[in-house]
C-alpha cells in the first residue's frame, strides 16, 4: 500500500481542525462571495453560513484526491447560486450612493463596474478568475480545487478573460 501523499496528510490534518480551516480560508471565501453576489456586505453574511455548512460536513469527508478547499468552494458556490436565485425572485432596492470625495467616489464606481462585469460571466469562469488572479494561486492548485486538469483550467481562463474584456468594454473600460 503506498504511503500517504503530502496532500492527503494535509487533508487529514485539516479534517480534525475546523478552526484552522476557518482562519486559513475565511478571507478568500468572503472575496469569492463578494465576486459572485456583487456585494461585500452580503458576502460577509453568507460566508458564516458557508463555513457552518462546510465544517459541519468536514468529518464525513473522505480523501478523493481533492483538498478541503475544494469542498469549501463547492459549498460557497451552491450557497451563492441559491442566494442569486432568491434575489432574482425579489425586487431589489437601489442602494443610495455613499458620501465620498470625488477621488474615492470614482474608485467606488470603477470597482462596482468591474464587479458588475464579473457578475455577468459564467460561474465556472468566475471561480477560475478568483482562484488564479485574485487569490494568486498557481494553476496546479487551481486544478486541484476545481477538479480539472491544468490545461482545462488554462483554457477556461482564456474564455473567462475574453468574456471579461467584452464586459469591461460594455462598462466603458478601455482595456488595451
Amino acid at each position: 500500500m503506498p504511503a500517504a501523499s503530502d496532500d492527503e496528510l494535509r487533508f487529514l490534518r485539516q479534517r480534525v481542525d475546523p478552526e484552522a480551516v476557518f482562519r486559513a480560508h475565511y478571507p478568500e471565501v468572503v472575496r469569492y462571495l463578494a465576486m459572485r453576489l456583487g456585494s461585500e456586505d452580503e458576502a460577509r453574511d453568507v460566508a458564516g453560513d458557508v463555513f457552518v455548512a462546510a465544517l459541519t460536513g468536514l468529518p464525513r469527508l473522505r480523501w478523493r484526491g481533492r483538498p478541503v478547499l475544494a469542498w469549501l468552494y463547492r459549498v460557497a458556490a451552491n450557497m451563492a447560486a441559491d442566494r442569486l436565485s432568491e434575489r432574482a425572485r425579489e425586487p431589489q432596492p437601489v442602494p443610495l450612493p455613499d458620501r465620498a470625495t470625488e477621488a474615492t467616489a470614482q474608485q467606488v464606481v470603477d470597482a462596482d463596474a468591474v464587479r458588475r462585469a464579473l457578475g455577468r460571466i459564467p460561474a465556472d469562469q468566475q471561480l477560475v478568475v478568483h482562484l488564479r488572479v485574485v487569490e494568486d494561486r498557481p494553476f496546479a492548485d487551481v486544478a486541484r480545487v476545481m477538479g480539472r486538469s491544468v490545461g482545462a483550467c488554462e483554457m477556461l481562463m482564456l474564455r473567462a478573460a475574453r468574456s471579461l474584456r467584452g464586459e469591461l468594454r460594455e462598462e466603458g473600460f478601455r482595456v488595451e
Binding site: M1, P2, A3, A4, E8, L9, L12, R13, V16, D17, P18, E19, A20, F22, R23, Y26, P27, V30, R31, A34, M35, E40, A43, R44, A47, G48, F51, V52, L55, T56, P59, R60, W63, D110, A111, V114, R115, L118, V129, H130, R132, V133, V134, D136, F139, G151, E154, M155, M157, L158, A160, A161, R162, L164, R165, L168, F173, V175, E176
Partner: protein
C-alpha cells in the same frame, strides 16, 4: 497565435509575470488585472476573521462531534502502510490522537510566540540563555537572546534574508545563510520552531507517544540542526493545550541541552502587532553584508532590461507605473550581486528597488539614521535619512522587499508613493 491552446498558454505566462510576446495575451491579462485590483481591495482583517469565528463557534458546537473511532484511525494506518503498532504509538489514550492534536496546536495560527530558557546538559558546553521569539510556518523569525539579563543578540529572518545584530559591538551582519554568521547556525535554530517542523514532517506513526506528568511525551525522529548535528527531540506536552513545555535534545543518548518553554502560544494574525517581524538597527550600527561563506556581497554587473525584461527578472518587481507624480519612468535595470539580484526602476530623482535575499549595497550604504516607523498593513514602513538630504524607505511586499529612494523627507509624499506601488505584471 496559431490556436486557442497556444493563446491559453501565453495568457498563463502573462499571469505568471512573464512576457509571452503575444499582444492578445497581454491585453487579456490587463483585463484580468482590473479584476485583481477591484477584488483584492475587499479586505478582511485578522480581527474580523476572529470575530466571525467567534460568532460561528456556537453554531459549530451544536453539531455532534463524531467519536474518533478505531476504524478511522485504522484508515490512517492503512494509508500510511504502517502496522497497528503505529496506531498504538500515536495515541495518548482512548479517543486522543496526540500527534494530530500536537500538530493542530502549533499550526492553528499564523505565528508562534515563544519564550525559552535554554541550559546545557550535564557536560556543560555553553552558558545558559533566554530566548524570546516569533516564528511562522514559512520560516520567518524574529528573536532576542539574553544572557544574565543582558541582550546579547537580536535576529530577523525574512524573505530569505538573515540579519543578526550584536548590540555590544554595535554591528550587524546581513546574509542569506546562517553559515555567514559568526556564531554559526546554532543561534538561528529555535527549539520550538524545529519541533514544529519535525512534527509536520514526521511520517504517520514516526513519533513515539508516552505519558508524562501533566501531559504526554513525544520522541521525535532524529533531526538535523542547521550546522550538521543530529539530535533526538524528547518533548513534553501539556495535557490541555498540547503545546510543548520542555524539549530535551539528546545526542547519541547524551543530553546536550534542556529547553524549558516558559511561555508559548500559537497566535492569530491580528495578535501579531505590526513591526513584529522587523529589526530596526540603531544609527551607529556598522552593517556588513556577507555572502556565504563569509565573503562580502559584491556587484557583478548592471544592465538595462526595460519593463518587458523586468517581468522575467526572477523577482516580483514593484513599480509606480509608467509615470508617477510628474516623474516619468526613465529606465529599469537588473543588478547582479554575488548572492542575489535586484531590480531598480528609475524615475526622475526617485528610484524603486525590489530585492529579496540581499540588500543592495548601494541602498545599505546610503541609509544613515532611522527616522520613523509607520504601520502599514501587517508590517511597517521604515524610513531612514540618506546622503544628500534624501530619504530611504523600506518595507515588505509579497515575496520581496521594496526600497524607495526619495528626493526628500516629505512624509506625506513618501507614504503616497508607497500607496501607489504595485507589482509589475
Amino acid at each position: 497565435m496559431s490556436s486557442d491552446r497556444d493563446l491559453a498558454t501565453a495568457l498563463a505566462s502573462e499571469l505568471d509575470g512573464l512576457d509571452s510576446g503575444s499582444p492578445e495575451a497581454s491585453s487579456l491579462a490587463l483585463a484580468l488585472g482590473e479584476v485583481a485590483g477591484a477584488m483584492q481591495a475587499v479586505e478582511v482583517s485578522g480581527a474580523e476573521v476572529e470575530q466571525a469565528l467567534a460568532a460561528t463557534r456556537p453554531r459549530l458546537a451544536g453539531r455532534r462531534r463524531p467519536a474518533w473511532r478505531l476504524a478511522a484511525a485504522a484508515a490512517v494506518v492503512v494509508i500510511a502502510a504502517v502496522a497497528l503498532l503505529v496506531a498504538r504509538s500515536t495515541r495518548g489514550g482512548p479517543g486522543v490522537d496526540v500527534q494530530a492534536q500536537a500538530i493542530a496546536a502549533v499550526t492553528r495560527h499564523a505565528a508562534i510566540m515563544v519564550s525559552e530558557q535554554i541550559s546545557p546538559g550535564p557536560d556543560g558546553g555553553f552558558r545558559a540563555f533566554r530566548r524570546d521569539g516569533w516564528y511562522t510556518p514559512s520560516g520567518d523569525a524574529r528573536w532576542t537572546l539574553r544572557s544574565g539579563g543582558v541582550v546579547v543578540a537580536q535576529g530577523l529572518r525574512w524573505n530569505g534574508r538573515l540579519t543578526v545584530y550584536d548590540p555590544r559591538r554595535h554591528s550587524a551582519v546581513v546574509a542569506t545563510s546562517c553559515r555567514a554568521i559568526g556564531s554559526g547556525c546554532a543561534q538561528v535554530a529555535d527549539p520550538v520552531a524545529l519541533y514544529r517542523r519535525a512534527l509536520l514532517t514526521a511520517a504517520p506513526g514516526g513519533v513515539a507517544v508516552g505519558s508524562a506528568p501533566g501531559g504526554y511525551r513525544l520522541t521525535l525522529p532524529v533531526q538535523r540542526v542547521p550546522g550538521g548535528r543530529r539530535i533526538d527531540q524528547v518533548v513534553r506536552l501539556d495535557a490541555a493545550t498540547f503545546l510543548p513545555t520542555r524539549i530535551t535534545w539528546v545526542d547519541d543518548g547524551l543530553v546536550v541541552a534542556v529547553v524549558r518553554v516558559t511561555q508559548v502560544a500559537a497566535v492569530p494574525p491580528d495578535s501579531v502587532s505590526p513591526g513584529t517581524f522587523s529589526l530596526s538597527l540603531p544609527g551607529a550600527t556598522h552593517v556588513v553584508q556577507l555572502a556565504a561563506p563569509g565573503q562580502p556581497v559584491r556587484l557583478i554587473g548592471t544592465r538595462p532590461i526595460g519593463v518587458g525584461g523586468a517581468r522575467t527578472a526572477g523577482v516580483p518587481v514593484y513599480w509606480l507605473g509608467p509615470r508617477f507624480a510628474g516623474r516619468p519612468l526613465t529606465g529599469v535595470d537588473l543588478l547582479r550581486y554575488t548572492d542575489g539580484v535586484a531590480v531598480r526602476a528609475r524615475y526622475r530623482g526617485l528610484d524603486v528597488w525590489t530585492y529579496t535575499t540581499i540588500v543592495p549595497p548601494q541602498l545599505l550604504a546610503n541609509r544613515l539614521v532611522p527616522l520613523k516607523s509607520l504601520p502599514e498593513g501587517s508590517g511597517t514602513i521604515q524610513i531612514y535619512s540618506a546622503r544628500g538630504g534624501r530619504a530611504v524607505v523600506e518595507f515588505e511586499r509579497r515575496g520581496a522587499t521594496v526600497g524607495l529612494v526619495a528626493p526628500g523627507l516629505d512624509f506625506p509624499a513618501v507614504t503616497d508613493a508607497v500607496a501607489h506601488l504595485r507589482r509589475l505584471r
